[in-house]
Subunit: 273 residues, 2 copies
DNA sequence: CTAATAGTGTCTATTAGACAGTATGTT
DNA sequence: AACATACTGTCTAATAGACACTATTAG
């Protein structure tokens, strides 16, 4: 038919196959300090996600993840970075591809496939004010074999998600997530958030991902709190310190003023590598 | 602007954003028996992937993963299942989404984004003959911190891939894969294969995924061989049996004829669950 | 002094690694 | 009998879990 690749390409009709639009959605996780009950106590940590209130249709006035259509001259990852910059004004952020969601009717407008990314940021590095339609929601997770119950709370509004975990046929470790309750989140972003939380929990245990959410200097108790709030369980101090010991380097800085013994500040060993 | 979601949708222009085509590529892994050196020895196992020789441009006559364009009325997963059925005539196969590859110039025709899936099959269940342009390639991996060297061999032809693992900025456990050598595989399928192998290796250690590649009844030595060939290292018998013990159920079947002590046959405990 | 967190020592339980030994088929 | 694999017992090393103890600050 054609004599060469060049000839084929010259004659190629790009409309041979049907086309669709793609979006990049980005789930930005962070931890932050909560209330301090009295001068002696530590502030408790919160685990939170950034949501945007939609100004336009579809799903007008509902909350969604930051996201947007990708351009033909950028990858989904580049789009995610662009959106991240728009929303938070942050560069050089930890970003990893999560999953591509592509249910036929996930967008009421037309067929739109979304590749989701997970970003981890240190909230302290956020100097600029958020756009006014953006808000951090604290995350509370209660997970069983069958269901994930997620409560998102920004202080004014509460979003409750119930997601059923249905085992896929023949698949041993993968669940198919099915929304059982969600009245406030747009699109299938409830599923994206559930997947993101699950990915983060897993990676916390076998990677150094957590340090992307920490300030440069931190105490081991703070670090432990972050693990605890994300994993949703208490850890034993000595065990935690044994495991973390070879990932951090002690600095000569200390944090005082707590009404109790001051804590040494550490930094991540592999910083700047 | 619009008074309701309905009104908005009625007036929505689906060509507001540029569009692209998507493909679903599927990396089908399997293990199979190799040669038997003498009547006493066990057959050695091979770890293999199914490739297709391209009949048309682009990349005419090069090897690629089974794949194809998705239709507007099917998801990427459904497309993967359809393609899997076309190539192998197998239903109900373990399938999981791997990664979405979307470098701008990954396809010389135009912007095409590909979502890749990994399928695991038991080769013994393959009764039908493969399409004549399809072939199983045995996989040999040699991986270091910096590089992955993959050799694919179907008995007649050998494909050598060298992939550089470049640490992404700020990312602690994710590498960016960069092709350093590949002359025979089409598109970016070398990267897909490298990611697939890496995913499979990881999941082998913390899930029961391996049983999707096993026949109904198998001996523990066979199972151990499969782990060893995929992980690329020898395991100690007692340790292996301790770990695997609670995942399998002993049957009253045995396999004889080996010029040595017969082995008990086991089955996967969670079969049919 | 007290309440609260910071940080360590040590005992125990569990799991992983190593090696040597016994068992049992085919030729 | 010999060979090759099947399978087990047991010792040791490493890791994880638990608890109790000491250290140090602000008020």
């Amino acid at each position: 038919m054609y004599k060469s690749e060049e000839e084929f390409l010259k004659n190629y009709n790009p409309d041979e196959f049907e086309k669709l639009s793609m979006t990049s959605d980005i789930i930005i996780f962070s931890v932050s300090d909560g209330d301090q009950k009295n001068y002696r106590k530590l502030k408790d940590k919160h685990f939170s996600v950034l949501l945007i209130k939609r100004k336009d249709y579809p799903f007008k006035d509902m909350w969604c993840l930051p996201g947007g259509f990708i351009r033909m001259d950028e990858t989904t990852e580049e789009a995610a970075k662009r959106i991240l910059l728009d929303e938070t004004n942050l560069h050089d952020i930890y970003l990893e591809q999560l999953y591509t969601f592509d249910a036929i009717d996930r967008d009421p407008r037309m067929r739109i496939v979304s590749t989701s990314y997970m970003a981890l940021i240190d909230k302290n590095s956020l100097r600029d004010k958020l756009p006014e339609n953006a808000s951090w929601f604290n995350i509370l997770v209660d997970e069983s074999d069958k269901e994930i119950n997620i409560t998102l709370d920004n202080g004014k509004e509460e979003i409750k998600l119930v997601i059923e975990k249905k085992l896929k046929e023949l698949t041993t470790d993968r669940y198919k997530y099915i929304t059982k309750h969600n009245t406030k989140l747009a699109f299938d972003h409830d599923l994206v958030i559930a997947s993101g939380i699950s990915r983060l929990k897993n990676k916390l245990e076998y990677t150094d991902i957590v340090f992307n959410m920490m300030p440069r200097y931190f105490s081991l108790s703070e670090l432990q709190q972050v693990y605890e709030i994300i994993l949703g369980k208490k850890l034993l101090d000595p065990a935690f310190r044994r495991i973390i010991a070879n990932k951090v380097r002690k600095t000569n800085k200390v944090k005082t003023g707590g009404g109790h013994r001051p804590s040494a500040l550490f930094e991540y060993k592999e910083r700047d590598k």
